[in-house]
Symmetry: C2
Amino acid sequence: MKKGHQVTMKEIAKKLGVSVSTISRALKDSPELHPDTKKRIVEMAKEMNYQPNLLAQSLRISRTNTLGVIVPEITSHFFASCISGIQDHANKRGYNVMICQSNETLELEKANIRTLVASQVDGLLISLSRETNQYDHLLDLYNREIPFLLFDRVNEDIPVSRVTFNDEGGAYEVTKYLIKTGCKRVMYVSGPEDLYISKKRKEGYLHALSEFGITADPALVKISDLTTEGNIKVAQEIADMENRPDGVFCMIDPVAIDILTSWKAMGIKVPTDMALAGFTNNPTAAVVEPPLTTVAQPGYEMGKLAVTHLLDQLDGQASDDPISIVLETTLVPRQSTKALQ
Amino acid sequence: MKKGHQVTMKEIAKKLGVSVSTISRALKDSPELHPDTKKRIVEMAKEMNYQPNLLAQSLRISRTNTLGVIVPEITSHFFASCISGIQDHANKRGYNVMICQSNETLELEKANIRTLVASQVDGLLISLSRETNQYDHLLDLYNREIPFLLFDRVNEDIPVSRVTFNDEGGAYEVTKYLIKTGCKRVMYVSGPEDLYISKKRKEGYLHALSEFGITADPALVKISDLTTEGNIKVAQEIADMENRPDGVFCMIDPVAIDILTSWKAMGIKVPTDMALAGFTNNPTAAVVEPPLTTVAQPGYEMGKLAVTHLLDQLDGQASDDPISIVLETTLVPRQSTKALQ
DNA sequence: CTGAAAGCGCTAACAG
DNA sequence: CTGTTAGCGCTTTCAG
C-alpha cells in the first residue's frame, strides 16, 4: 500500500507564483508580510488541504516537540493513569508523546531509549523496569545531555529529577492504621528486595512499628516475586504459620488480592482472622469482597507533575538542577481491616 | 535545557577521511564496499557512539516506520491490552508506535489524526470515540490514501479494513446461557443506541430470545449512559420494577459491576434474586462478589491482528482491499449466574 | 569500490 | 514586504 501524495509548500508556492519562504512566513503568521498575500496563501493552503510535514520542520529546527515515555507495563492501571496525565498536559503545551513499554525487562528498556533518542525526542520520562539494576543506559543519556527524568520507579544515584510518591509515608500510615485497629502482629509482604518501593515501604512499616514500641520480628516479613503463583505461595505460608500475624500489609494491591482469594478458598476470614491491606488503590481493590483497605496513589497527577517539570526544564522555566518531587498518598480505609474504635 | 550534540555521519566521515556516502553505505552493510573500510567505519561509529537521526532518514526515504494509534481511553484495561498487542507486534516488525487518546471526544480524535498525519506516520490504527457520529475526518484519510484501519469501535460505512469481535455471537451466547440456567425474563442493559456495540450486542440478545421462542419485551431493554450515575439509576429502576427480570445482561462489565454494587446495598441477592452478566471480562469482573459471568474479549490478540494486517497491507503482503476480521469471544461462566443443571 | 551531487520539506539569515 | 540561498542529516543516483 502506498501513501498518497501530500501537498507541500513548494506546490502552493508554484500555484500562487510566490516563493516558498513567503509561504512559510504566511503559514506561521509572520508580521513582516503583506496582509493580502498572507490571506491568499492561507486560503490556498486550506483549499489544497495542506498539512505541514513535521518531520522536515523538526529536522530543520532540531526540535520535535515530542517527548518519549517508557513505562514497565501499559496494562497496569496505575501506569495507564500516569500516561494519561502525561499526554493531556504535554498536548496542552503543544507536545506529542511517544509511549513505549519495557515489559519489565532491562533489554527492552534500553531498546526503547535507543529508538526514542534516534527519533530525536526532546526529552524522556522514564519509569524503570523491575529488572533494571544497572544504569549505564541512563548515565549515557545523562552524559549526552538528553533531558530526562524518572518517575515512580526511580533510582536515586542518577543526578536527574525524579517524581515519586511518599512511599515511606504511605506505608507508615497504613501500618499505623492496622495497629490502631487492633493488630498486634503486623506482617509486611514485600516484593523483591532490590526494588525501590520494596525498600521504601518497608521503612514506613518499620517506622510505624517502632513508633508503637513494637519490636520488628523477621518472621513477620515475607517476600513475594509478585507473580500470582508467588503470591499464592505466600498466602499458604502465612496460613501455615504456627503463630500467624493478625494483620498483613502487602506492598501492592495485586498481592493482597491474590492472598485474599487464596484465604477465602481456605476459609480464612478477613478481617476477623487476619486484617489485610494493600497499596496503590487499583480499581479491583474497591470491588473485592471485602473491599480492600489500601493507599491511593494518584497516577494522573504524577504524570502531570512529571511532564510539567520536564517541559519547564526544556523551555527554561525551571532550573536544570535535578529536583525531587514527592507526592503524598492517601489512606483509603475499607472493610478488609477492622474499624477504628 | 539544551540537548547535547549528537554525532553525525559527517563527523565520522571527516575523522576517517572518507565521504559521507561511504559512511552511509557502511552503516547499512552495503555489499559494494571494501570489507576493511566497512570495518573501520563501523568501529569508529561505535566508538563515537553514533546514533542515526531517524528524522533525517525518514524525510529522505519518506517512510517513518512509525504507526499511529488512537484509542478512546488508555486507562481502560481492554484498550491498554490492545495497545500492548499492537506495540509488541509492531516492534517485532521494526515499527514504532505513537499512541494517542481521544478521551471519547470527536474533537480530540480529529486533532490526534491531524498530528499523527503531520508526523508522517506510515499508517493509523483507530478505535472511534463514543462521540464520533460523523466521519469526514476518516473519509479525508481515505481520500488522501493514508493507510488506516478501524478496530473494536468501528464504523461500517468507511471502505477500510476493520477488526472487531463477534459481538453479536458473544451476546447471543451469554443470553442463551442465562436462559439455560433458568432465567425466564432476561433483560438487556444497553449503552447509547447509536454505538456500534450497543446494536450488535442487542442483536445477539434478541437472537437468543427468539431461538428459545421468547417474545422480546420492550420493558426488558434499558439504556444507560454508561456513567456510574447512569448505571446506578438503571439499577434502581430495575429494583423498582413491578415485574422484575430474573436475569440481566449488561453491555459492558462496568455497568454490571455498578448494578451489582447498588443491588448489594439494597439487599438484592445475585444470582438468587436476579442473575447478572457482563461483557469484556475486565480484571474487576473476576474479583467482585459474586464473581461476574461475562464474555472475554482478548484485547492483546485484537491489537496483534490489527497491526499485523495493517503492516501486511503496507508492505504488500496483503491486498489493499478492505477486509473484516472478526475475533471470537469466549463465555466466562462465574457465580453471578446460576449453574447449569 | 568510493566520491560528488542532488534533494526529501522546511526555516532562517541575508539581500534587496 | 519578498525572493534567494544555504542547510538540517541522511540516502541514492550517477560518475569515475
